[in-house]
């Protein structure tokens, strides 16, 4: 069966190329396209939960990243190859870590447009271009961009109170938040008629307080915290809690991560090592839950009246913040992670432990991103120490 007659009109010539003559697996462009789909899914979930404003910030970040890539290539006189799809991916990933806005006593303030713009600019020019371009950067470019915005826009990047659209107002444009009525979980509570969004604290902010010591009452502080302050866990799964645009919807992230594993672009053990190590670290690292200021180890094993409250605490650690996003989409960057399976597991485990340790005892929010940046630094070292032995040597 002939495919087309056009082929027959071409001059008959035979290609001379070195072996192998067949190509298998997917190209870099296909990988990046799949990543864009997966990251876009998390972004879509963020737009649903935080409103169309989130889409604007994502668009600013992506647009700036692509323009910055073009400008950088022009400035360097074409010595570097432009990878626009990768630049767009970095912009989108950066956008996912940004808050949609912040709330103070005066009301809701959208994020400044300069935040995604500066962030994407730094990500592409400093994080990617100046570090040697595609394939050569040491730190994840999107996280470099985020680090810059964290330093430059402290107030906007680290709001104390966040808004989340009410579940009847998904995709609505500008949040009109309410906070004074009783909140019993995003999925359960009804908003008053004149509001369309809740004002919430980020779940991990509550968890962070455990290391500072909570006032002890008759009940276990863990129980009090989870029952009275933290949202129900299904809200964490669905994304109806405070956080960055793409951080909160755990289900979208897990579905996206599974797709990447299915396509073979991510090995399952890489994000899994981050998650498992974080769970172990959360279960082991001490928090202050006694009456005095004493540290108690192994909070993950605590029970309260038969309820495994420690396990729930660990679960909130895993899903309450940026850990899922970081483990599934940031720690799996091919360039800024080790090459061998052993190296990737070591890398992931170190990120997981560091992320929880920094979250509990560190000064900065967004601990998982900092943990990844720190471990990015050691990728070369890990690669050198986890070389495979060549057969016969």
């Amino acid at each position: 069966m002939r495919r087309s007659t056009d082929q027959d009109k071409r001059p008959a010539w035979l290609e001379i190329r070195p072996a192998p003559h067949l190509g298998g697996g997917d190209s870099f462009a296909q990988m990046t396209r799949s990543m864009l789909i997966v990251v876009g899914l998390a972004g879509l979930a963020g737009v649903a939960v935080f409103g169309l404003m989130a889409a604007i910030w994502l668009a600013v970040a992506v647009g700036t990243a692509v323009v910055a890539e073009w400008a950088y290539v022009q400035l360097t006189g074409g010595r570097v190859t432009a990878t626009y799809d990768h630049a767009a991916l970095m912009g989108l990933l950066l956008g996912l870590t940004l808050p949609v806005g912040w709330v103070d006593d005066a009301g809701f303030h959208p994020l400044g447009w300069a935040v995604p713009l500066i962030g994407a600019l730094v990500a592409i020019v400093v994080g990617k271009g100046l570090m040697g371009g595609m394939g050569n950067y040491l730190w994840h470019p999107a996280l470099v961009g985020r680090a810059a915005t964290e330093l430059l826009y402290d107030q906007q990047m680290h709001p104390e109170r966040w808004v989340v659209l009410g579940r009847n107002h998904l995709f609505a444009a500008v949040p009109k938040p309410v906070e004074s009525i009783e909140y019993a979980g995003w999925r359960i509570s009804q908003l008053p008629a004149d509001a369309n969004a809740w004002v919430l604290r980020r779940p991990v902010e509550w968890l962070r307080q455990l290391a500072d010591g909570l006032p002890a009452g008759d009940e276990s502080p863990l129980t009090v915290l989870i029952r009275d302050h933290l949202p129900p866990w299904e809200d964490l799964l669905l994304g109806g809690v405070g956080g960055g645009i793409g951080e909160t919807c755990t289900i979208a992230l897990i579905v996206g991560g599974l797709y990447l594993v299915y396509r073979g672009y991510v090995r399952w053990y890489q994000p899994m090592s981050v998650i498992v190590a974080a769970a172990v670290a959360a279960a082991v690292l001490p928090i202050r839950i006694g009456p005095a200021a004493s540290f108690d180890w192994l909070p993950g094993l605590q029970t309260d009246a038969g309820l495994p409250i420690g396990a729930i605490y660990v679960l909130y650690h895993l899903t309450g913040g940026e850990l899922m996003l970081a483990a599934l989409l940031f720690a799996t960057d091919t360039v800024a992670s080790p090459c061998t399976a052993r190296g990737q597991v070591i890398f992931g485990a170190a990120i997981g432990v560091l992320a929880i340790a920094l979250r509990l005892y560190g000064p900065m929010p967004g601990s998982c991103y900092w943990a990844i940046l720190i471990m990015n630094t050691f990728v070369g070292l890990i690669d050198r120490r986890t070389k495979r032995r060549v057969m016969g040597t």
Partner: protein
Amino acid sequence: MLQHDGAASVPCVEAGQRVLAGQVIGLADSNDDAVPVHASTSGRVTGIVQVETPHACDVPAVLIEPDGRDEWAPPADAPVEPGDLADLTERISRAGVAGVGPNAPAVADVLAAAGRHGVRHVIINAMESEPYLTAEYRILADHGRLIVRTADLLANLLGAQRLWLALDRANRYLLGELRRLVHGTSVRIAPLRNKYPQGAVPLLVRGLLGREVPYGGSPLDVGAVVLDGCAVLAIAQAVLEGRPCVDRIVTVAGGAADRPGNYRVPIGTPVHRLIEYVGLRRTVRRVVIGGPMRGLAVSSPQVVTTKRVGAVMLLSEDQVVARPRGPCIRCGWCLEDCPVGLDPPSVLAAVETFRTDGAQHEEIAGLFPHACLGCGICSYVCPAGLPLADGLARARTLVSVRS
């Protein structure tokens, strides 16, 4: 006339002379690998010409116009079992059995070296060496009894304790047949999972014997000798049937081939005749001598087959995806998939920045390029389209094996 490295054999017939199949038409020159060349069929010699083989050009050749009768010359050696190894190797050489692969040493030399060295294991490698190839399967299916008998004979002559027959375990029916055939012989059947490149010699030795061939060494260093199934068939025909090496089972396949399959191809057949015979269903973009992973793309279908050609691939346009080269994205797939644990991107980087000074020789040698099986998987999986296998091949030419 050139079936091996070194000097070509010298034609010993003249134009106009009638030759019979199996008659010697070229005499071996002095070099070690050289073997005599026999007429593939009966016919009239129309001239001594220059032809191109896949591995050399301007090779003297005896052009025979077949008379279609395929009359055979009386065998030079009586088809009796050889008494000792020297007798065997001499008869193998006389029958014109050369190396079976592109870089393979002559079969007789392999056997002689094994005899000198002393081996405990003889491994008959009936694993297909590459995807698409099915010649080994065909040989075992058609000549199973002969292969088993010859293998038994070889093991006896070499004084080996163990005789393995490695084959693809997916061929259930063949496996059952062979189990019946080897009953009462010393052959042990080793059904292996045919995941390319399991048929590569070092992997076979490690898989069967649990020992690694030392870097830069040969299977002899672990007391084993590996013979391909097609080599055993050639030995069997030469020694037990008194029939010199005049043809070979060749897999002709690929997306452009209309009737892909295994064909008994007389040595010296031009590739375009093969193409005409199997027919084309699509435009051929690459003609590859050998398998799709390691084979050699040739520029012209005028090349003639030699004793080293076990496969011809006719690859169509949609099969040969030439991926544009991009920067390495450190995905680690090549490291993960390398069957011997090499670091192909490092080798490629070292080769591409190579300047002729000692330091870089050291650097490349430290990456052990000679452990490379040349399987091509690194280039195959690379999403950035890097010529990794090519880099490793160049590295092997730049540094010698350090003992």
